[in-house]
Symmetry: C2
DNA sequence: CTGAAAGCGCTAACAT
DNA sequence: ATGTTAGCGCTTTCAG
């Protein structure tokens, strides 16, 4: 009756609605869920990303959900890639209608298979694999990373060090590929490059920078970190070693997290529209949930933000 | 049967559990909720705080919930204090068993009244008012703020500026009171002090610092910002104006957010154990939910962290 | 167009 | 100690 059925007289409808309002009546969503077999809950999953990324992700999902009856439940999972089966059980135990998967879960094909089998719909944020599955928000990490490297090469840098992201995130490899294309296009040889492992944390950026500084031979003039947290870690260590940025060393990040704008000098980085990506993926998920066919993946635009942490090399 | 009832033979119990596992059976939490009148969901509410605060808050709640059947749903509300009635309706519409209220909602007495009337239990993070209501995690903002001010006064600062927090947060007044006690104890007069409004955002810290620098008369030698984001905003503006920190100007924050450790120089601030506070409040809420009487409020320890943004004034 | 009845999957109370 | 039954609040189906 309250669900706007077609063949009810307007007068009656109004009357019922008025009374409902007067009594402060709210339909019991649990009972409704029992019969419709829907929980009206969607989950958001991720694996220890940085605070500003998490917050943007959540804001995006909630923004899309604001006028829906759906609620968002948060499911951070420690180690998606190491234990995909456990991850799936974790998802299933929450009795969700659907789930939004952030990296690296969005690329965990074993999880997608089981989600399909269980009939749980999903949205995926920035997957690198099989973008046709689920409702996907795409970002061209390779192209973005290439732009970063091209920017440094255009400034004249010829000895460069890369601080790699968490290898379980497919985006790390995609970004490396972008750097590699730029290096190849400018004939930068292996001997002028150095690659240090990292895991997207501030501490791993610090450690990588220490290793870079302790290497024999001429120091690189630019550092390409695969995210902002590691870039800031590298900057901290470089400064403690007496290097000025960007005078002695240029540094680039990736993500445009809050810290990139707050640090001095402000960090040259790539903006990922995480809020929009989360909103779009949720929108697609809602379509899937209402029985519509899978929406086409949406490619989101990135943006190279040149700030004060990069300059031409000295000398 | 699966609920570990007391008078079932162990052999049978084991057998049933084995079959349940084999069939991959999971009880329908929705149906269970319909009869027990519980949704097994608790909400977490807050009003646009900084990312690192949000993330710690969520981590704390989830940590306590990890082995429970409860799920956490996120309810950020734009303007708790301006529209307490809407805020309550917002809470109620989610069909929650309980809710964890972060500031400033944790001090919204009108909301607590309506929550009581609706029989929705609640945990409260860092309330300043009526700490006996609900499951409370307390922090002594006044004592902590006083320690910050005492630290600056001990260094020899005698002209100080305060950047105030959002006035709708009761913590702002509590922190101001702490500063005031230290100033009074050291006979710092009104004419040596200046108070600029802010709202806990980076931008408001920048704006406040600009106003401070444009005032006639001798410049203060120390800035007390009521949170870290505003402190960082103030530092940014001070540096752009050619002041060195802490050489020309000491700056203090409040919260020990991520940025406090990442910025150079590292920020002198107060650590609030947000994670623990969230965990404790959730623990108390769970007790309330299981029918136990209201647990006593838990006072959490703060810690003054003296880092590199404070030093004795020049000259 | 409107009322009555069945039943979603589970738990609680009750009868063996 | 175990099996049976009613019914949570809603939607859907089927008669009126």
């Amino acid at each position: 009756m309250l669900n706007d059925e077609p063949f009810v007289k307007d007068a009656l409808r109004e009357k019922v609605k008025a009374v409902a309002k007067a009594l402060n009546y709210q339909p019991n969503i649990t009972a409704k869920g029992l019969i419709t077999r829907r929980s009206f809950m969607i989950g958001l999953t991720y694996e220890r990303p940085s605070p500003s990324y998490v917050v943007e992700l959540q804001r995006g999902v909630l923004e899309r959900l604001a006028d829906e009856r759906y609620r968002m439940i948060i499911l951070p999972f420690r180690d998606v890639c190491a234990r995909p089966d456990d991850f799936f059980e974790f998802l299933r135990s929450a009795a969700l209608d659907g789930v939004v998967l952030a990296p690296p879960g969005s690329d965990e094909l074993a999880v997608l298979d089981r989600l399909d089998a269980a009939g749980i719909h999903y949205g995926r944020i920035a997957p690198q694999l099989e973008p046709g599955r689920g409702a996907c928000s795409l970002l061209d990490d390779t192209a973005a990373a290439r732009e970063v490297a091209e920017h440094l090469l255009a400034l004249g840098h010829r000895r460069l060090a890369v601080i790699l992201g968490d290898p379980t995130h497919r985006a790390s490899a995609a970004r490396s590929e972008g750097y590699a294309r730029a290096f190849a296009a400018h004939d930068i040889g292996e001997d002028a490059l150095c690659f240090e492992p990292g895991d997207f944390t501030f501490a791993s950026g610090e450690a990588a920078m220490r290793r870079i500084l302790s290497r024999p031979g001429p120091r690189p003039t630019a550092i390409l970190a695969q995210n902002d947290d590691m870039a800031v870690g590298a900057m901290t260590v470089a400064r403690e070693a007496g290097l000025s940025i960007p005078g002695d060393l240029s540094v680039t990040g990736f993500d445009d997290s809050d810290i990139a704008r707050l640090i001095m000098p402000k960090l040259t980085t790539v903006r990922q529209p995480v809020f929009d990506m989360a909103m779009t993926a949720t929108d697609g998920l809602l379509k899937l949930l209402s029985g519509e066919p899978a929406p086409p993946p949406v490619l989101h635009a990135h943006e190279l933000l040149v700030r004060q942490s990069t300059a031409a090399p000295a000398g």
